[in-house]
Protein backbone atom coordinates (compact mmCIF):
# COMPACT_ATOMS: atom_id res chain seq x y z
CA UNK A 1 0.00 0.00 0.00
CA UNK A 2 1.01 3.62 -0.44
CA UNK A 3 1.51 5.42 2.86
CA UNK A 4 1.46 9.21 2.83
CA UNK A 5 1.99 10.98 6.11
CA UNK A 6 4.05 13.58 7.90
CA UNK A 7 7.10 12.62 9.89
CA UNK A 8 8.63 15.38 11.98
CA UNK A 9 6.73 17.93 9.90
CA UNK A 10 8.05 16.57 6.60
CA UNK A 11 5.71 15.01 4.08
CA UNK A 12 6.66 11.40 3.39
CA UNK A 13 5.26 9.10 0.73
CA UNK A 14 6.36 5.49 0.43
CA UNK A 15 5.28 2.00 -0.50
CA UNK A 16 4.87 -0.34 2.50
CA UNK A 17 3.41 -3.75 3.29
CA UNK A 18 -0.12 -3.57 4.72
CA UNK A 19 1.00 -5.35 7.89
CA UNK A 20 4.05 -3.28 8.79
CA UNK A 21 4.14 -1.61 12.18
CA UNK A 22 4.90 2.09 12.38
CA UNK A 23 8.10 1.48 14.36
CA UNK A 24 9.49 -0.65 11.54
CA UNK A 25 8.62 1.91 8.90
CA UNK A 26 10.33 4.60 10.96
CA UNK A 27 13.45 2.56 11.72
CA UNK A 28 13.94 0.39 8.65
CA UNK A 29 12.53 2.49 5.84
CA UNK A 30 13.18 6.01 7.08
CA UNK A 31 16.33 5.36 9.12
CA UNK A 32 14.89 7.02 12.22
CA UNK A 33 16.44 4.62 14.72
CA UNK A 34 15.99 6.86 17.76
CA UNK A 35 12.65 5.12 18.32
CA UNK A 36 13.47 1.82 20.05
CA UNK A 37 11.92 -1.63 19.98
CA UNK A 38 11.86 -3.66 23.14
CA UNK A 39 8.78 -5.65 24.13
CA UNK A 40 6.86 -5.36 20.85
CA UNK A 41 3.60 -5.71 22.72
CA UNK A 42 2.84 -2.24 23.98
CA UNK A 43 4.04 -2.84 27.52
CA UNK A 44 7.32 -0.94 27.82
CA UNK A 45 6.95 2.39 25.99
CA UNK A 46 10.42 2.34 24.38
CA UNK A 47 8.80 2.83 20.97
CA UNK A 48 6.74 5.88 22.00
CA UNK A 49 6.13 8.44 19.26
CA UNK A 50 3.43 11.07 18.86
CA UNK A 51 0.55 10.42 16.49
CA UNK A 52 -1.26 13.72 15.96
CA UNK A 53 0.49 14.97 19.10
CA UNK A 54 -0.57 12.03 21.28
CA UNK A 55 2.00 9.57 22.61
CA UNK A 56 1.34 6.05 21.30
CA UNK A 57 3.21 2.74 21.18
CA UNK A 58 4.51 2.54 17.61
CA UNK A 59 5.33 -1.19 17.97
CA UNK A 60 1.65 -2.18 17.98
CA UNK A 61 0.49 0.56 15.66
CA UNK A 62 -0.10 -0.66 12.13
CA UNK A 63 1.63 1.95 9.95
CA UNK A 64 -1.57 2.13 7.91
CA UNK A 65 -3.15 3.94 10.86
CA UNK A 66 -0.77 6.85 10.28
CA UNK A 67 -2.18 7.52 6.79
CA UNK A 68 -2.52 11.28 6.34
CA UNK A 69 -1.53 11.98 9.92
CA UNK A 70 1.37 13.62 11.76
CA UNK A 71 4.03 11.55 13.48
CA UNK A 72 6.69 13.13 15.67
CA UNK A 73 9.67 11.00 16.71
CA UNK A 74 12.53 11.69 19.09
CA UNK A 75 14.51 13.05 16.13
CA UNK A 76 11.79 15.65 15.62
CA UNK A 77 11.93 16.74 19.22
CA UNK A 78 15.65 17.43 19.51
CA UNK A 79 19.17 16.27 18.69
CA UNK A 80 22.73 16.64 19.98
CA UNK A 81 23.17 20.07 18.41
CA UNK A 82 19.88 21.41 19.67
CA UNK A 83 18.46 19.14 22.34
CA UNK A 84 14.92 19.44 23.61
CA UNK A 85 14.73 20.75 27.16
CA UNK A 86 13.48 17.35 28.41
CA UNK A 87 16.55 15.70 26.86
CA UNK A 88 18.77 18.30 28.53
CA UNK A 89 17.24 17.70 31.93
CA UNK A 90 17.46 13.92 31.58
CA UNK A 91 21.19 14.34 30.88
CA UNK A 92 21.70 16.91 33.64
CA UNK A 93 19.98 14.70 36.21
CA UNK A 94 21.83 11.57 35.13
CA UNK A 95 18.38 10.08 34.56
CA UNK A 96 19.65 7.46 32.15
CA UNK A 97 21.98 4.51 32.29
CA UNK A 98 21.86 2.15 29.34
CA UNK A 99 19.70 4.75 27.58
CA UNK A 100 17.51 2.35 25.68
CA UNK A 101 14.25 3.52 27.26
CA UNK A 102 15.22 7.20 27.19
CA UNK A 103 13.74 8.27 23.82
CA UNK A 104 10.40 6.80 24.88
CA UNK A 105 10.57 8.60 28.23
CA UNK A 106 11.40 11.88 26.51
CA UNK A 107 8.42 11.54 24.18
CA UNK A 108 6.07 10.68 27.06
CA UNK A 109 7.44 13.40 29.35
CA UNK A 110 7.38 16.14 26.70
CA UNK A 111 3.73 15.38 25.89
CA UNK A 112 2.90 15.32 29.59
CA UNK A 113 4.53 18.71 30.23
CA UNK A 114 2.94 20.18 27.12
CA UNK A 115 -0.54 19.10 28.28
CA UNK A 116 0.04 19.68 32.01
CA UNK A 117 2.66 22.41 32.49
CA UNK A 118 1.78 22.47 36.19
CA UNK A 119 1.69 18.69 36.58
CA UNK A 120 1.54 17.38 40.14
CA UNK A 121 3.73 14.51 41.29
CA UNK A 122 0.79 12.13 40.75
CA UNK A 123 0.18 13.44 37.25
CA UNK A 124 3.84 12.90 36.42
CA UNK A 125 3.66 9.33 37.73
CA UNK A 126 0.54 8.75 35.62
CA UNK A 127 2.06 10.38 32.56
CA UNK A 128 5.16 8.19 32.72
CA UNK A 129 3.33 5.02 33.73
CA UNK A 130 3.37 3.58 30.21
CA UNK A 131 7.17 3.41 30.17
CA UNK A 132 9.54 0.96 31.79
CA UNK A 133 13.16 1.56 32.81
CA UNK A 134 15.21 -1.35 34.13
CA UNK A 135 18.34 0.63 35.13
CA UNK A 136 17.64 3.86 36.93
CA UNK A 137 15.02 2.93 39.49
CA UNK A 138 12.96 5.87 38.12
CA UNK A 139 13.90 8.37 40.83
CA UNK A 140 16.06 10.54 38.62
CA UNK A 141 13.75 10.34 35.63
CA UNK A 142 10.90 11.62 37.77
CA UNK A 143 13.12 14.31 39.31
CA UNK A 144 14.26 15.46 35.86
CA UNK A 145 10.65 15.79 34.70
CA UNK A 146 9.56 17.41 37.95
CA UNK A 147 12.27 20.04 37.50
CA UNK A 148 10.47 21.22 34.37
CA UNK A 149 7.08 21.75 35.96
CA UNK A 150 6.02 25.39 35.69
CA UNK A 151 8.80 26.17 33.23
CA UNK A 152 7.92 27.13 29.68
CA UNK A 153 8.67 24.03 27.68
CA UNK A 154 8.99 24.60 23.96
CA UNK A 155 7.27 21.76 22.14
CA UNK A 156 7.40 21.64 18.34
CA UNK A 157 3.98 21.27 16.79
CA UNK A 158 3.20 19.93 13.36
CA UNK A 159 2.82 23.02 11.16
CA UNK A 160 -0.79 22.34 10.23
CA UNK A 161 -1.83 22.20 13.86
CA UNK A 162 -0.30 25.53 14.90
Amino acid sequence: MKLEFYVNNQQVSLEIEDNEMLVDVLRERLGLTGTKISCREGECGSCTVWLDEKPVNSCILPAAKAQGRHVITIEGLGNLESPHIVQEQIARFGATQCGYCTPGYVMAAAALLRDHPHASHDEIMQGLSGNLCRCTGYTRIIAAVESLVDSSVEIPLPKELR
Binding site: D18, E41, G42, G45, N57, G127
Partner: protein, 289 residues
Protein backbone atom coordinates in the same frame (compact mmCIF):
# COMPACT_ATOMS: atom_id res chain seq x y z
CA UNK B 1 -0.33 -11.59 9.84
CA UNK B 2 -3.00 -9.98 7.70
CA UNK B 3 -2.39 -9.17 4.04
CA UNK B 4 -4.69 -6.20 3.57
CA UNK B 5 -5.42 -3.30 5.90
CA UNK B 6 -8.47 -1.17 5.22
CA UNK B 7 -9.42 2.15 6.79
CA UNK B 8 -13.02 2.68 5.61
CA UNK B 9 -14.30 6.24 5.85
CA UNK B 10 -17.84 5.31 6.88
CA UNK B 11 -19.88 2.45 8.30
CA UNK B 12 -21.40 1.29 5.03
CA UNK B 13 -17.95 0.93 3.50
CA UNK B 14 -16.85 -1.04 6.58
CA UNK B 15 -19.91 -3.32 6.43
CA UNK B 16 -19.36 -3.96 2.76
CA UNK B 17 -15.74 -4.97 3.37
CA UNK B 18 -16.76 -7.21 6.25
CA UNK B 19 -19.39 -8.92 4.17
CA UNK B 20 -16.94 -9.40 1.32
CA UNK B 21 -14.28 -11.02 3.46
CA UNK B 22 -16.54 -12.95 5.83
CA UNK B 23 -14.58 -14.77 8.50
CA UNK B 24 -11.30 -13.89 6.83
CA UNK B 25 -11.89 -10.22 7.61
CA UNK B 26 -11.69 -8.85 11.13
CA UNK B 27 -12.92 -5.54 12.48
CA UNK B 28 -10.30 -3.69 14.47
CA UNK B 29 -10.38 -0.42 16.36
CA UNK B 30 -7.47 0.79 18.52
CA UNK B 31 -5.85 -2.60 17.98
CA UNK B 32 -4.03 -2.69 21.32
CA UNK B 33 -5.26 -6.25 21.95
CA UNK B 34 -5.90 -7.55 18.46
CA UNK B 35 -2.68 -6.45 16.75
CA UNK B 36 -0.77 -8.46 19.34
CA UNK B 37 -3.12 -11.45 18.92
CA UNK B 38 -2.77 -11.39 15.15
CA UNK B 39 1.01 -11.07 15.34
CA UNK B 40 1.52 -13.86 17.87
CA UNK B 41 -0.45 -16.54 16.11
CA UNK B 42 1.93 -16.57 13.18
CA UNK B 43 -0.09 -17.73 10.22
CA UNK B 44 -3.50 -16.45 11.23
CA UNK B 45 -6.68 -16.92 9.23
CA UNK B 46 -7.17 -13.17 9.21
CA UNK B 47 -6.65 -12.02 5.67
CA UNK B 48 -7.99 -8.49 5.93
CA UNK B 49 -8.15 -6.05 8.79
CA UNK B 50 -10.92 -3.46 8.69
CA UNK B 51 -10.01 -0.52 10.89
CA UNK B 52 -13.07 1.42 12.05
CA UNK B 53 -11.25 3.69 14.50
CA UNK B 54 -11.47 6.85 12.42
CA UNK B 55 -15.08 6.62 11.25
CA UNK B 56 -16.55 9.96 12.42
CA UNK B 57 -20.06 8.57 13.13
CA UNK B 58 -18.79 6.35 15.95
CA UNK B 59 -16.40 8.84 17.57
CA UNK B 60 -18.90 11.06 19.43
CA UNK B 61 -19.94 11.58 23.02
CA UNK B 62 -23.26 13.37 23.44
CA UNK B 63 -26.41 13.66 25.53
CA UNK B 64 -29.89 13.26 24.07
CA UNK B 65 -33.19 13.00 25.97
CA UNK B 66 -31.43 12.33 29.26
CA UNK B 67 -29.31 9.56 27.79
CA UNK B 68 -25.58 9.61 27.30
CA UNK B 69 -24.26 8.22 24.01
CA UNK B 70 -20.68 7.06 23.54
CA UNK B 71 -19.46 5.97 20.10
CA UNK B 72 -17.64 2.65 19.97
CA UNK B 73 -14.44 4.21 18.57
CA UNK B 74 -14.10 6.74 21.40
CA UNK B 75 -10.71 6.17 23.05
CA UNK B 76 -10.13 5.82 26.78
CA UNK B 77 -8.13 9.07 26.74
CA UNK B 78 -11.15 10.82 25.27
CA UNK B 79 -13.40 9.27 27.91
CA UNK B 80 -11.01 10.29 30.66
CA UNK B 81 -10.84 13.88 29.43
CA UNK B 82 -14.51 14.29 28.51
CA UNK B 83 -16.13 16.82 30.84
CA UNK B 84 -19.56 15.26 30.11
CA UNK B 85 -18.38 11.82 31.22
CA UNK B 86 -16.49 13.11 34.24
CA UNK B 87 -19.55 15.02 35.40
CA UNK B 88 -22.26 12.42 34.76
CA UNK B 89 -20.53 9.05 34.89
CA UNK B 90 -17.42 9.29 37.06
CA UNK B 91 -17.55 5.48 37.36
CA UNK B 92 -16.56 5.23 33.71
CA UNK B 93 -13.99 8.04 33.86
CA UNK B 94 -12.32 6.31 36.81
CA UNK B 95 -12.22 2.96 34.99
CA UNK B 96 -10.69 4.69 31.96
CA UNK B 97 -8.05 6.32 34.17
CA UNK B 98 -6.98 2.93 35.47
CA UNK B 99 -6.66 1.23 32.09
CA UNK B 100 -3.06 0.51 30.99
CA UNK B 101 -0.97 3.67 30.50
CA UNK B 102 -1.27 6.89 28.48
CA UNK B 103 0.10 5.45 25.23
CA UNK B 104 -2.45 2.60 25.22
CA UNK B 105 -5.33 4.84 26.34
CA UNK B 106 -4.65 7.08 23.33
CA UNK B 107 -5.41 4.15 21.03
CA UNK B 108 -7.67 1.68 22.87
CA UNK B 109 -11.41 2.21 22.44
CA UNK B 110 -14.44 1.47 24.57
CA UNK B 111 -15.99 -0.56 21.74
CA UNK B 112 -12.88 -2.67 21.41
CA UNK B 113 -12.75 -3.28 25.15
CA UNK B 114 -16.36 -4.52 25.20
CA UNK B 115 -16.31 -6.62 22.01
CA UNK B 116 -12.99 -8.19 22.95
CA UNK B 117 -14.93 -9.30 26.05
CA UNK B 118 -12.08 -10.19 28.34
CA UNK B 119 -13.50 -11.25 31.73
CA UNK B 120 -11.24 -8.55 33.22
CA UNK B 121 -12.19 -5.73 30.80
CA UNK B 122 -12.28 -2.56 32.86
CA UNK B 123 -14.98 -0.72 30.88
CA UNK B 124 -17.57 -3.49 31.23
CA UNK B 125 -18.49 -3.34 34.95
CA UNK B 126 -19.17 0.43 34.77
CA UNK B 127 -21.33 -0.03 31.66
CA UNK B 128 -23.20 -2.88 33.38
CA UNK B 129 -24.10 -0.74 36.41
CA UNK B 130 -25.23 2.01 34.03
CA UNK B 131 -27.49 -0.61 32.42
CA UNK B 132 -26.02 0.27 29.03
CA UNK B 133 -27.49 -0.68 25.69
CA UNK B 134 -25.21 -1.78 22.87
CA UNK B 135 -26.02 -0.30 19.45
CA UNK B 136 -25.25 -2.59 16.54
CA UNK B 137 -25.40 -2.07 12.80
CA UNK B 138 -25.67 -4.99 10.38
CA UNK B 139 -25.37 -5.75 6.71
CA UNK B 140 -27.69 -3.55 4.70
CA UNK B 141 -27.50 -0.90 7.39
CA UNK B 142 -30.21 -2.38 9.63
CA UNK B 143 -29.58 -1.61 13.28
CA UNK B 144 -30.52 -3.27 16.54
CA UNK B 145 -30.01 -2.69 20.23
CA UNK B 146 -29.31 -5.13 23.01
CA UNK B 147 -28.62 -4.76 26.71
CA UNK B 148 -24.93 -5.18 27.45
CA UNK B 149 -25.81 -7.88 29.97
CA UNK B 150 -27.35 -9.97 27.18
CA UNK B 151 -24.57 -9.09 24.76
CA UNK B 152 -21.91 -10.78 26.92
CA UNK B 153 -22.05 -14.52 26.27
CA UNK B 154 -18.80 -15.82 27.75
CA UNK B 155 -15.05 -15.48 27.89
CA UNK B 156 -14.32 -13.42 24.75
CA UNK B 157 -17.72 -14.28 23.33
CA UNK B 158 -20.37 -11.68 22.50
CA UNK B 159 -23.71 -11.77 20.73
CA UNK B 160 -22.46 -10.23 17.51
CA UNK B 161 -23.15 -11.73 14.10
CA UNK B 162 -20.27 -11.98 11.63
CA UNK B 163 -21.50 -9.07 9.52
CA UNK B 164 -22.33 -6.74 12.39
CA UNK B 165 -20.43 -3.83 13.91
CA UNK B 166 -20.93 -2.28 17.34
CA UNK B 167 -21.50 1.44 16.83
CA UNK B 168 -21.80 2.59 20.44
CA UNK B 169 -23.35 2.48 23.88
CA UNK B 170 -26.04 4.53 25.56
CA UNK B 171 -27.66 4.69 28.94
CA UNK B 172 -29.83 6.83 31.19
CA UNK B 173 -27.71 9.35 33.10
CA UNK B 174 -27.88 8.34 36.79
CA UNK B 175 -29.69 10.80 38.99
CA UNK B 176 -27.66 13.17 41.15
CA UNK B 177 -28.60 11.38 44.37
CA UNK B 178 -26.82 8.23 43.22
CA UNK B 179 -23.17 7.67 44.00
CA UNK B 180 -20.86 5.86 41.64
CA UNK B 181 -17.80 3.83 42.49
CA UNK B 182 -15.07 1.97 40.64
CA UNK B 183 -12.25 -0.05 42.11
CA UNK B 184 -9.64 -2.14 40.34
CA UNK B 185 -7.57 -4.64 42.30
CA UNK B 186 -4.25 -4.92 40.53
CA UNK B 187 -0.66 -5.94 41.20
CA UNK B 188 0.75 -2.58 40.16
CA UNK B 189 -0.56 0.93 39.57
CA UNK B 190 -0.42 0.92 35.77
CA UNK B 191 -0.26 -1.46 32.83
CA UNK B 192 -1.98 -4.11 34.93
CA UNK B 193 -4.80 -6.51 34.18
CA UNK B 194 -7.43 -6.52 36.91
CA UNK B 195 -7.32 -9.33 39.46
CA UNK B 196 -10.85 -8.16 40.14
CA UNK B 197 -12.76 -5.01 39.29
CA UNK B 198 -15.90 -3.60 40.87
CA UNK B 199 -18.38 -0.94 39.81
CA UNK B 200 -21.32 0.29 41.85
CA UNK B 201 -24.15 2.73 41.27
CA UNK B 202 -26.02 3.27 44.55
CA UNK B 203 -28.98 5.57 45.11
CA UNK B 204 -30.19 6.57 48.54
CA UNK B 205 -33.47 8.31 49.32
CA UNK B 206 -34.66 9.11 52.83
CA UNK B 207 -32.10 6.84 54.51
CA UNK B 208 -33.18 3.91 52.35
CA UNK B 209 -31.40 2.33 49.39
CA UNK B 210 -33.77 3.16 46.55
CA UNK B 211 -31.73 1.55 43.81
CA UNK B 212 -28.44 -0.26 43.54
CA UNK B 213 -26.51 -1.91 40.75
CA UNK B 214 -23.27 -3.79 41.31
CA UNK B 215 -21.01 -5.40 38.72
CA UNK B 216 -17.74 -7.29 39.00
CA UNK B 217 -15.14 -8.43 36.55
CA UNK B 218 -12.47 -11.16 36.55
CA UNK B 219 -14.65 -13.36 38.78
CA UNK B 220 -16.53 -15.35 36.11
CA UNK B 221 -16.33 -16.01 32.34
CA UNK B 222 -17.85 -12.54 31.80
CA UNK B 223 -18.15 -9.47 33.96
CA UNK B 224 -21.52 -9.74 35.65
CA UNK B 225 -24.12 -8.08 37.86
CA UNK B 226 -24.14 -9.21 41.48
CA UNK B 227 -27.91 -9.59 41.70
CA UNK B 228 -28.15 -11.57 44.93
CA UNK B 229 -26.61 -8.67 46.81
CA UNK B 230 -28.49 -6.05 44.77
CA UNK B 231 -31.81 -7.69 45.70
CA UNK B 232 -30.81 -7.93 49.34
CA UNK B 233 -29.90 -4.25 49.48
CA UNK B 234 -32.80 -2.80 47.52
CA UNK B 235 -35.24 -0.85 49.74
CA UNK B 236 -33.16 -1.63 52.79
CA UNK B 237 -32.69 1.14 55.39
CA UNK B 238 -29.09 2.28 55.13
CA UNK B 239 -28.17 1.35 58.70
CA UNK B 240 -29.22 -2.29 58.11
CA UNK B 241 -27.11 -2.36 54.93
CA UNK B 242 -24.02 -1.97 57.09
CA UNK B 243 -24.39 -5.59 58.25
CA UNK B 244 -21.69 -7.76 56.62
CA UNK B 245 -24.28 -10.56 56.21
CA UNK B 246 -25.86 -8.60 53.36
CA UNK B 247 -22.81 -9.24 51.19
CA UNK B 248 -22.46 -13.00 51.69
CA UNK B 249 -24.56 -13.56 48.54
CA UNK B 250 -21.76 -12.41 46.26
CA UNK B 251 -20.11 -15.79 46.79
CA UNK B 252 -22.96 -17.57 45.02
CA UNK B 253 -23.08 -15.10 42.14
CA UNK B 254 -19.44 -15.37 41.13
CA UNK B 255 -17.30 -18.30 40.06
CA UNK B 256 -13.69 -17.17 39.80
CA UNK B 257 -10.84 -19.27 38.47
CA UNK B 258 -7.33 -19.79 39.73
CA UNK B 259 -4.74 -18.53 37.29
CA UNK B 260 -1.24 -17.10 37.44
CA UNK B 261 -2.64 -13.74 38.53
CA UNK B 262 -4.59 -14.87 41.58
CA UNK B 263 -6.26 -17.89 43.13
CA UNK B 264 -9.98 -18.58 43.28
CA UNK B 265 -9.86 -18.35 47.09
CA UNK B 266 -8.18 -14.95 46.95
CA UNK B 267 -10.71 -13.60 44.48
CA UNK B 268 -13.66 -14.89 46.54
CA UNK B 269 -12.34 -13.29 49.69
CA UNK B 270 -11.49 -9.99 48.00
CA UNK B 271 -14.90 -9.90 46.29
CA UNK B 272 -16.78 -10.20 49.57
CA UNK B 273 -14.60 -7.87 51.61
CA UNK B 274 -14.26 -5.24 48.93
CA UNK B 275 -17.97 -5.14 48.18
CA UNK B 276 -18.78 -4.69 51.87
CA UNK B 277 -16.15 -2.01 52.29
CA UNK B 278 -17.24 -0.17 49.15
CA UNK B 279 -20.99 -0.10 49.84
CA UNK B 280 -20.54 0.86 53.49
CA UNK B 281 -18.13 3.58 52.41
CA UNK B 282 -20.70 4.94 49.96
CA UNK B 283 -23.46 4.79 52.58
CA UNK B 284 -21.34 6.64 55.11
CA UNK B 285 -20.57 9.23 52.45
CA UNK B 286 -24.28 9.67 51.73
CA UNK B 287 -25.09 9.91 55.49
CA UNK B 288 -22.95 13.02 55.64
CA UNK B 289 -24.76 14.73 52.77
Amino acid sequence: MWKRYYTPKNLSEALELKEGYGKRGRIISGGTDLVIDFSKKGVSSTEAVIDISSIPDIRNIFIQNGELYIGSAVTFSEILHSSVIREHVPVLAEAARQIAGPQIRNLATIGGNVVNASPAADAIPPLLVLNAMVSIIGAGGGSREVYLEQFLLGNRKVALEPNEIVTGFHFQIPSKNCCQYFRKVKPRQSMAIALLNLAICLCVEKARISDVRIAMGAVAPTALRIKTVENKLKNLPTDLAKNPECYQGVLSDIDPITDFRASRQYRLRVAKNLLYEAVVGLLEGSDQN
